[in-house]
Every structure is written in structure tokens, then in C-alpha cells.
Symmetry: C2
Subunit: 336 residues, 2 copies
């Protein structure tokens, strides 16, 4: 009944810790190319679906209205590092929309990027909402509200038209109902709906192939994907896996991390989408699996992210984060 162990953390001769979870790799039709663990339990995708949460920004005409280019769209799809580049761009988006930064409802946290956080602290500044990794997504939400003449106050509430539009998009793209029984509130205050990993994987396969999606939305998705591949540094940040991999494999890999050990992505050339969730929410395990997956489809990705060694504070390697047997075996059997 327990999900299988997918990632192990060793120290010396022993496995010190391990991470259980589930993963699905799906075709656009829903045929599973790989499945480990319970892929039918609803999982909050969290930030892994920001590219889909950005659809109404394009489809409503708001992006065109405010002259948002690929950079703005990429930031709207990103969990950015909170550098000056990121915050300045989010601020510029809001200025074009004509709302003040304090219209944001995402709340403030220290930049995800360590050097951005250190710079902020070194200058004696507290983080503001622009530093929140979701400020681009929220700027996009505000743009949609203003463009459609809706109130900006409370745009994060599940009952606000901005969130209801996103809900509709997710129901359409996922093909599942997404009722209140699977509705949680994300760290940035907007609703997030849990769905099975099998459904998320299928949705990501459709996202990159356009299978079963009407022409207008297909164009919007192409615009979103191109924006992410053109500006991968805005989707995450320097040295982070999503940025590094998408810069190295534009058009070939789309991937996005989510909180609590979630990863979603797709490999357009293979017409496959993936979704995974670590039971315990560990980022180190989710990131390890996502990189192992990318390396399986594109062996040239090996070494892109120096992932795995456990080191002492003096830099000596004393253990490793590695794929466990169940995941290794499944990857090996996977036809690529």
C-alpha cells in the first residue's frame, strides 16, 4: 500500500534516509509509459502548473492589451529567484497594468535565490511582495482582472472571476471536475486543485503536443512554451534546474517544480508528459527524480546539474542522493 522508495540518501555504508513517492509518464491520450506508486490519488500540483495558470492571461487578450512579451509571460509562468531582474520585470508589468505593487496578494518572502536574499539583507531591506517567487504569476492575474474590468481587490479568492477562469482552464485541460473536495490554498494565497499524477502527466503531454486542444488555446500554449524556452532564467533563476535544463534543451524539455515535492514537465519530441510527487514533500528527492528523468530522455543532460553528492562542510563527499532500485529499474525499462 505504501508508495515505493524512489530516492535514497546514503551516508557511509548505510542508507540514512529515503523518499517514497509516485510518478506517471503519459501520452496525450492517457496511455501510461511509466507508472510507479499510486498515481490516482489527488496531488496539489502547486507551482508546477503555473504555465496553465497563465493561459487566461493570453486567452483573455490581457497580455496583448498591455504589450506583454515573452519575458513577461515567462515570468508569469515562473517561480523566480527574486533577483533585481525578476522584481524589476514584475514591477514593470504592474506599471503597464496600472496598479501599484501593493495590489499584489501573494505576500512577501525572502528571495528564493541565495545571493538575491543576501543582497537584500546586506542592504538592510525587508522583502516585499515583488520578491515573492510568484509575483510574476500574480502580475499576470492582475493584468487579466484589469483588462476585463473586474475588481483587483481579492483577485486571489476562489470566488473571484480571475481564479474561476483558471479553474475552468484546469478542468478543461485535465478533464476532471476539481471540486471543493480537492481545493486547497497555495502559499501565495490563490486556490490550487489536487488531481491525480496520471491526469497531470496527460495534461502536460497535451500541453506540448496540442492533442485534443482547440486551435486558439493551442496557439496560446505555443506562445507560453516559447516564452519559457526563450527566457528560462525568468522561470526559475541562475543555477536552478528548470532554468539550466530548459536553456540547454529549448523545445525539448519543459519542466517546472512545485512545493511539497512536486515536479511536472514534458518531452515534446517523445510526445510524453510527466508528473511526480514525493510523499514527504522533499525538494531534494523531487529534483533528483526530475533530473534522472531528463537524463534518461536526453543523456547529454548528464552533469548539467551536479546533483547527488552529500558533502561535509569541508567539502568531502560522505554520501549520495541516488535513484532507488524501483525507480532505476522503471527508467531502464522505459522506451525512449
Amino acid at each position: 500500500m505504501a508508495n515505493p522508495i524512489l530516492i535514497e540518501v546514503t551516508r557511509g555504508p548505510l542508507v540514512e534516509s529515503w523518499h517514497r513517492g509516485a510518478i506517471a509518464i503519459s501520452s496525450p491520450s492517457g496511455a501510461l509509459a511509466l507508472q510507479l506508486g499510486d498515481v490516482e490519488r489527488p496531488v496539489y500540483p502547486r507551482s508546477a502548473i503555473k504555465a496553465l495558470q497563465a493561459l487566461p492571461l493570453i486567452e483573455s487578450g490581457a497580455a496583448d492589451k498591455f504589450g506583454f512579451g515573452p519575458a513577461d509571460i515567462a515570468l508569469a509562468c515562473g517561480s523566480h529567484a527574486g533577483t533585481e531582474q525578476h522584481t524589476a520585470l514584475a514591477a514593470a508589468m504592474l506599471q503597464r497594468v496600472g496598479v501599484a505593487p501593493d495590489a499584489l496578494g501573494c505576500g512577501a518572502h525572502l528571495p528564493l535565490g541565495a545571493s538575491a536574499a543576501a543582497a537584500l539583507v546586506a542592504n538592510g531591506h525587508a522583502p516585499n511582495q515583488l520578491h515573492n517567487n510568484c509575483s510574476g504569476k500574480h502580475a499576470g492575474m492582475l493584468a487579466t482582472a484589469v483588462h476585463l474590468g473586474e475588481p483587483t481587490a481579492g483577485y486571489w479568492e476562489p470566488t473571484h472571476p480571475v481564479q474561476q477562469r483558471i479553474h475552468r482552464v484546469l478542468v478543461e485541460m485535465s478533464g476532471v471536475p476539481l471540486g471543493p473536495d480537492v481545493q486547497g490554498i497555495d502559499g501565495c494565497s490563490v486556490p490550487n486543485w489536487a488531481m491525480p499524477l496520471s491526469v497531470l502527466a496527460r495534461m502536460f503531454a497535451r500541453l506540448v503536443t496540442g492533442d485534443g486542444i482547440e486551435a486558439g488555446r493551442r496557439q496560446a500554449l505555443v506562445r507560453i512554451l516559447r516564452a519559457c524556452w526563450e527566457h528560462p532564467e525568468l522561470v526559475a533563476g541562475k543555477g536552478r534546474a528548470d532554468t539550466v535544463v530548459m536553456r540547454a534543451f529549448p523545445g525539448q524539455v519543459i519542466m517546472k517544480t512545485g512545493a511539497e515535492g512536486v515536479y511536472c514537465g514534458a518531452f515534446p519530441e517523445f510526445r510524453l508528459g510527466f508528473a511526480l510527487k514525493i510523499d514527504d514533500g522533499a525538494k531534494r528527492a523531487a529534483a533528483g527524480m526530475a533530473m534522472a528523468l531528463v537524463e534518461r530522455f536526453y543523456p547529454a543532460a548528464r552533469g548539467l546539474m551536479p546533483y547527488g553528492p552529500i558533502k561535509t562542510w569541508r567539502g568531502v563527499e560522505v554520501g549520495a542522493i541516488r535513484s532507488a532500485a524501483a525507480f532505476e529499474d522503471a527508467l531502464e525499462k522505459l522506451k525512449v
Copy 2:
């Protein structure tokens, strides 16, 4: 075969993540008052056994030789926050021993304490080895080496007399052999030996009762425990569970966190020791269990650590970290 789910993390109507693990509560004789999951698998105790790693500092006469008082001994048992108070004390210990701070082998990391880390960064300083949460432990190790006329170089190596003495103490206190098959290297470069949670729990029961321990060591243990209860802020830091709880319950609760989801401690009045390990290494789960345990033995501890709520960045409660049914039930059945 999988360990039971002990801690759950909810978001909205769903359990978003969960943590499996094992826990043992033992008498000094090894009778288990509570046991969940596999308590016989060897677990690296990491920093949870610093009080025992400090025994040679007392027993060798080094502490007396260098005039170490309760504060110095508490720091040697601590995973400190790296504040000025902590680093100044570690530096003073080294000065009395007559070695320079760069004799430390623990390596450098940013202070564990968020405000100490921010202050360091704000002043444009990089962390040095004194900021390492283990610098007090290492200062104690250096003190022992110098006192006994041993080389200070490489005092962290498993073959150095300093580590061999600690190994002997742990073998004696645990009653298990601790061979190379269970030897790993800790983040601070010194060896750490894995042992079953049942053994760790029994060891902590003996540590506070003195059962089966000869008089000299008993006195040393009393001196160590008193130091931790007298200076709990040196064992961890402001706002951290070990400090807060030991300040509120001196003589009644000893507790110490370790990396990778370990917690050990004891309740002298109940003549019981405990040891727990979260499979995936999550601190949030280990800390949650430790607090639930303390609250079971001392209901007055409720509310001491505002533990549990999951909040948005705007401070709205949207989920909880809570004990899972298996752990709740076991706690309820526990006779206290």
C-alpha cells in the same frame, strides 16, 4: 514492511504530504514503553548524541584543566545558532586551550539562527568555523587532545585518539559493537555510528538515571545534564525547541535534535529515554513528534512552541502539521 505514517501535513481538505518513521521509548533496562516502526535498524544519531560525545571532555580532566564551566560544557553539547554569544564562547574556549580558531575541523556554514545569519550577511562577512553549529563540540574535542598531549591535526579522523575515545564511550553506553559497517562521517567531519532506536532510547534512559553506569561517569553525566539545563540557550538558540523546552522543564526534559530527522531525549522523572527517526529526514516531522512527546509527559508544555499551522505568506492558516493516527494512538496508550 514500511514504517508507519507518524506525521501528516494537510492543506485544505487533503493530506498533502506525510512522514513515516520509527520511535522507541525505553527504560534503562531496555524495556520498551512505546515502539512504532522498525526500531532495530541502525540509525545515525548525528547531533542528537552530542551530550555523549562530550563525555571524554569531562572524564579526561580536560574541562577542569581549562576551567570550563557549565556554559562551555553546554556549548560542547549544543547545535548552536551561531550568534555572537555562541561564537564568542567557542572562541574563548579555544583561547583557553591555546589553539587558534583555524584548528577547528568542522568547516564553515551560515549560522543556523536566521537573525545571526542575516547580521553576518548584512555586515558583509562570510561565516567562519566558529559559526558552525558544532564549533562548541569541536572546541571540546580540541581541548581533550591538547590536555592529553595528542596532535590537534586531524582530530576529526576516525583513527585519531579523540574519536576513538568517543567511540569507546558510545560502545560502553550503548552496549553494541559499532563497527565500520555502521560508521558514517557527519557533516562536521567527525565519525558518527548508527545504532538501533531501541538502543539509543535505552542509552538516553541510562544517561538520565545513571542505571548501570559507574560512579565516575555518572558524575560526569550529571555535570553535562546540569550544564544543558542551566544554559539551554547554548544547546540550540532563541526560539528553538530544545532551548525553549529545556528552559521550561529543567531537570525534567532533556532533548536534542539531530540532522536527517533524528531526535533523542529523556524524561528523568519517568525514567524513560526516547529516540525517533523520520525515514525521509524531515526536521518538521521530527520536531513535531518531539513536541508531541514532551506535551504527553508534560501537558504544561502545550503552546510553548507554536508548532503546526501551515500558513500562506500573508499569514492565513491553510493547513497543519499534525500527529497521524498511529502516533496519536500510541501516545494515548502510553502510561505517564
